[in-house]
Symmetry: C2
Subunit: 707 residues, 2 copies
């Protein structure tokens, strides 16, 4: 079933004028009872119609036996009936002209084949009639817009209005998030629990929220990506204007398996998730706590211009911890100007320390914070201010919070706070006036929020550029690959792999295939060009040819080539009596820094580039980087510069730097090959020598999917 | 001033029978007013005497003009008068026969030379009269023992009694910690804020708490170590019986500087802190939040036998996050037996997942948790159980918490909880019955606590062994080093460095010093033993001899030696016209894996061993490990096996393993050298070749402190 080209708006879901609750129940504590009550008690602006064949009235509202019996139009139906009734309910909704569905009922894809069939039937009905559906197996949606006041969830909490749009793949996380948001005083604009994402996806919600001016930030809790390719342009456009912060569960293999058993969704490798999110400017955080911490900061503070943090405190200990954390996160302790320090000196007690951290000592209260903050905020060397306050007995924390808020009003630099006080004190500040400034319990939380503000800014401003079209002999590559796919795919002959890569402009050590010893000797004379040659066995039995002794290196003259060819021929005849094999004769490359480059394909994320330094760096130290295809010049360069061992390539200990442009070019050409030939599912180039005069692939393998 | 051999007990501080508050004040909000009120209002079991020459009565208690005027004996004096009066107050206390002092007043070492002099005077008075003093510049101490009820602090909170002894170097952190402990329902046994640690140190407190049967766990917030050498045996003995958990601020260089400016204490390198704490079995945590999280777990749960975690949940999302976190921390997701899974199947709904994570789905409540937990706890493959609960509308979280508590009562496996609920719900559970089981807001917090329980167990059971005495030609080493120290210290001649290391049994490539070309040729014949030799310039101008071209390698015959010696001589005469130099003639060593080994001395922590693989591993990848002297065979081996590049040494990619015993032996011998010769402040052995037949040092440098 193809998706419609322009999906119908999500307005029937988020801005309905009337709602039917199909499965409304008189039994307290049931979902059908609670959803109806949440709609009514939170003041939904339109009419709500309970539907239940067995009830006359629910929550004092006249109940209908069937959605079709409702005399007025119905925009949105909330479905809580058992799964086996959902298909027929959807049929009734279509007859009634309902335009949006939210199927809370469970019992679909997540319970196996029967459920999956049921889910597909429901989706087909919706698609055929232009209905958008959230769920099934979800916990509903809400919209706090005062003109709508939609609470179609069974959560305990209807949040205060605010600028956060939130989507959760998990219902439980949705409940948690609404609860915690309220505890933190965070305002929510819209929320949806997507459940099985059978119709409405995260991509749909982002497109919808992009055009909602009251949505300032989008938060996501995800366990899988449905359509990463579609996500890229949508999320990239969104994050240019407003931040997206994402928790993606399943970072580890074990977590990925747990996620798969939870939703039946394939998680895909985490390196691909990282690449996808960075590429789209989405801030990935590790935990729900961190999601809240950064949301608090984003909702009340400007983004910082840089990473230099000033700490203003009345206690040394927490400031030291904050300093440890911020340096550990890659932020910098700002250096205050002499003018700032002199000015601080005039307003603070002599025991105060006016270097950063500015320690105003225990007696400092509202007056000192109010006087010091403008000075520190005005220092050109400061991008972010972290205020720490440990309330001594004599001082009112709320007064200090107010002073910090007043002093930071109108500044273009973010001000964060860490008040190490009793919960009741913090709650008083947070709940009464949440818009003051973001307040954290511990220095590490405040520092992590500051770090995330820096990352959001960097992601927003990050220009990854566009993929470039590389010049290539595409006809040759297409022909070789098509032949291989027609022949059933698999690892293609080495000479063909070299031909494809060379066709894409990747420099390989000159090579020729040869059948038999004499042909090998003749080929050596041609490819050698006065330099020694290598002889390698090539064929399906020799994927790991080195292990079989199928390689002879540094052959200086025809006699050496002949002797080696005879030796290798004997090995080949023994190891591969039934399958074809040939010699590859290759000019010995000048050595350089060994690189490994390749392409691996993932069923969810498609092809990924892999690069690392060869030998121990990949095998022992696991120092490799992955990038989603297509790479751009910026993302290609970044893969290389982020290797831990990058300084080796860049030239260290008196060695010459490798030609980094050539390394980048090679990655871009590999990316183009993978992008233009989805049938190429595996490429391994190992080693590639990177030298000052360019790069040269010495050994390559390429696998093609069958046609 | 020498410390008395057996320090007087801290009983006068923590179990006084009577207290004078010197500086008691009638002004609300002052420290002198608050401390007195805290003592009185929290029901101190003995008599409290306000002392203030300007007041008749404070807090309805008759006030004395001078401590000497109090008619009854006084055990403890709390001093809050301005610093300039403290010396005379201490004199009065001595006359009065006071046995313990707690000097809250600031204005000592932390404000500069004048304050330091004052502090020294106070300490001298105390030591001369057998008085123990806490502070100065601290926030007091407390003891919740019902027979004492001592609250000699100016904190807002007097904690409930419990098993935690807490020491804080920072007063502000102390206040914070008391506040948060109460919020979490954690009971405190004793607390002391140590301030400048002029007399009573953390070591003293640990020794005192070791013998207090009601103290179950010690928590420490430190910014510096006063006497690491003394700490080792005290902490090691303590942690065999009860855990110590420590936050040591100043992990980064910037944080260390902030700490130094805060307390005037030298932080020492963080690698040394790590080594010290591991060696003593102390659990180091990164933040105050983590300190609380682990304390909660330690106070109510047994230590786990292993690292296999089972997750029991009613919600998939948080369980996936928990799985990610626990795998990320190096814990394992337990594999449940088929019996456990079958039994779970009989009690849970069909949609439940009975593999770990055990997802009982949203409807699971007290009954399901109560039934599933004993099954999971009884599984032999499970060491720790993490329960997660996201309260749906219909279920009472407190009931679920009670069910978990009942089901886990009496188990020998720790049970942790993560309830993702509104603060008010959590507070209800935590505050009402804190002894139930440790409850965390987020999966990552619960996982971190589980991980820390595993670490505490491992630290308790860790047997690092004892340093071994190595056989050595100590007389030779002593003589060479004494001569060098007498000659003013500094980098000693290369031949001497080789002699010292060889005397300690460290195998070095055979080497001889030679003056002049002919001597070099003759020496080559002796040391070469049929193998090529290397020639190196040796002298104060040639510490970086390679950079100056002062090294010639692989000299095969006397002619080559002579030619090289003439060339090097010319270089030496140009580069070092005024200072002495010689040739070092050395047999070329068989190459192996390059190691770097050495000793560096730190003013606080003393000598530290350093080891890493040579070349890029140290210079680019910063893959080095540090260990405190003296090493034991276990700690020596651990330094090597924890190198990221250890697989290279252990043999990888078909290469032979290096002789790891020889590597360990060499480290132990270096350690013995450093231990027995504190004047050796720097040793660099770079490279040392590690081969299958042992290790061999090729180039060495050694620096001696002047006598």
């Amino acid at each position: 079933m193809a998706e419609p080209l322009v999906p119908p708006s999500l307005d029937p879901l988020f801005r309905p004028r009337s709602i039917a609750v199909i499965g409304a129940s008189r039994t307290p504590g049931t979902i059908g009872n609670t959803v109806l009550w949440n709609l009514v008690s939170n003041g939904f602006s339109g009419a709500v119609y309970p539907v239940n064949p067995g009830a006359e009235v629910v929550h004092s509202i006249r109940c209908f036996k069937d959605v079709r019996a409702i005399p007025d139009p119905v925009d949105l139906a909330i479905v809580t009936v058992p799964a086996r009734h959902v298909v027929s309910v959807v049929g009734s909704c279509i007859e009634k002209g309902v335009r949006g569905l939210c199927v809370i009922s469970a019992g679909f894809r997540e319970v196996g084949d029967e459920g999956l069939a049921r889910e597909r039937e429901v989706v087909a009905l919706c698609r055929a009639h232009g209905i958008r559906m959230i769920g099934p197996n979800c916990m509903g949606l809400l919209n706090t817009d005062p003109t709508v006041k939609l609470n179609a969830t069974f959560a305990r909490t209807f949040p205060r209005p605010g600028g956060i749009a939130f989507l959760s793949q998990s219902g439980a996380m949705g409940v948690t998030i609404l609860d915690h948001a309220e505890d933190l005083g965070l305002g929510i604009r819209m929320f949806a629990s997507l459940g099985n994402k059978a119709d409405v996806s995260g991509n749909d919600l982002l497109e919808y929220w992009e055009h909602d001016p009251e949505t300032k930030v989008a938060l996501m809790y995800l366990e899988s990506f449905g359509n990463p390719r579609k996500f890229i342009p949508i999320a990239r456009r969104f994050t240019r204007a407003k931040p997206i912060v994402c928790v993606k569960a399943g970072r580890t293999a074990e977590g990925g398996r747990a996620a798969a058993s939870h939703t039946g969704a394939l998680a895909g490798p985490d390196v691909a998730v990282d690449a996808l999110l960075e590429q789209t400017g989405v801030l990935r955080v590790d935990s729900v706590a961190e999601l809240f911490d950064v949301a608090q900061a984003l909702m009340s503070q400007p983004l910082p211009a840089g990473r230099r943090v000033a700490v203003v405190t009345n206690a040394g200990g927490p400031a030291i911890l904050a300093t440890d954390f911020l340096v550990g996160k890659g932020l910098e302790l700002a250096t205050l100007t002499d003018e700032t320090k002199a000015a601080l000196r005039t307003i603070l007690v002599p025991e105060a320390s006016v270097a950063n951290p500015v320690d105003m000592v225990a007696g400092a209260g509202a007056r000192e914070y109010g006087a010091a903050l403008p000075l520190v905020l005005g220092d050109p060397g400061v991008d972010i201010v972290l205020t720490i306050f440990v309330p001594p007995i004599t001082l009112d924390p709320v007064g200090v919070a107010r002073a910090i808020f007043e002093a930071s009003r109108g500044t273009t630099k973010p001000v964060l706070g860490c008040f190490m006080a009793r919960d009741e004190v913090l709650d008083a500040i947070k709940r009464l006036e949440s818009a003051w400034f973001p307040l954290y319990d511990y220095p590490e939380d405040a520092v992590r929020a500051a770090w995330n503000l820096v990352r959001v800014r960097a992601l927003r401003d990050d220009d990854l550029g566009e993929p470039v079209r590389v010049d290539a002999d595409r006809a040759t590559a297409r022909r070789v690959l098509a032949d291989a796919a027609r022949a059933g795919g698999g690892w293609i002959p080495g000479a063909d792999a070299f031909r494809v890569l060379s066709a894409y402009g990747i420099r390989c050590a000159p090579v020729e295939a040869a059948e038999g010893v004499e042909a090998a000797v003749a080929a050596a004379a041609r490819v050698g060009g006065g330099r020694p040659v290598a002889l390698k066995l090539d064929g399906p039995a020799f994927l790991h040819k080195s292990d079989l002794g199928g390689v002879a290196l540094r052959l200086e003259d025809p006699a050496a080539v002949r002797a080696a060819a005879e030796r290798l021929q004997a090995i080949a005849q023994r190891a591969s009596p039934d399958r074809p094999w040939r010699f590859l004769v290759q000019r010995m490359a000048e050595p350089g820094t060994e690189l490994v480059m390749g392409v691996r394909s993932d069923p969810v994320f498609g092809p990924m580039l892999v690069v690392g330094l060869g030998g121990i760096h990949v095998e022992v130290l696991r120092d490799v980087r992955f990038g989603l295809v297509p790479l751009t010049p910026v993302t290609a360069r970044r893969l290389v510069t982020r290797l831990r061992a990058f300084p080796i390539l860049a030239g260290t200990r008196g060695q010459r730097a490798a030609d980094l442009d050539a390394v980048e070019q090679t990655l871009l050409r590999l990316s183009a090959l993978a992008e233009e030939h989805p049938e190429v599912v595996d490429v391994e180039m190992n080693p590639v020598f990177a030298r000052a005069d360019g790069v040269e692939a010495v050994d390559v393998r390429l696998r093609v999917a069958p046609m």
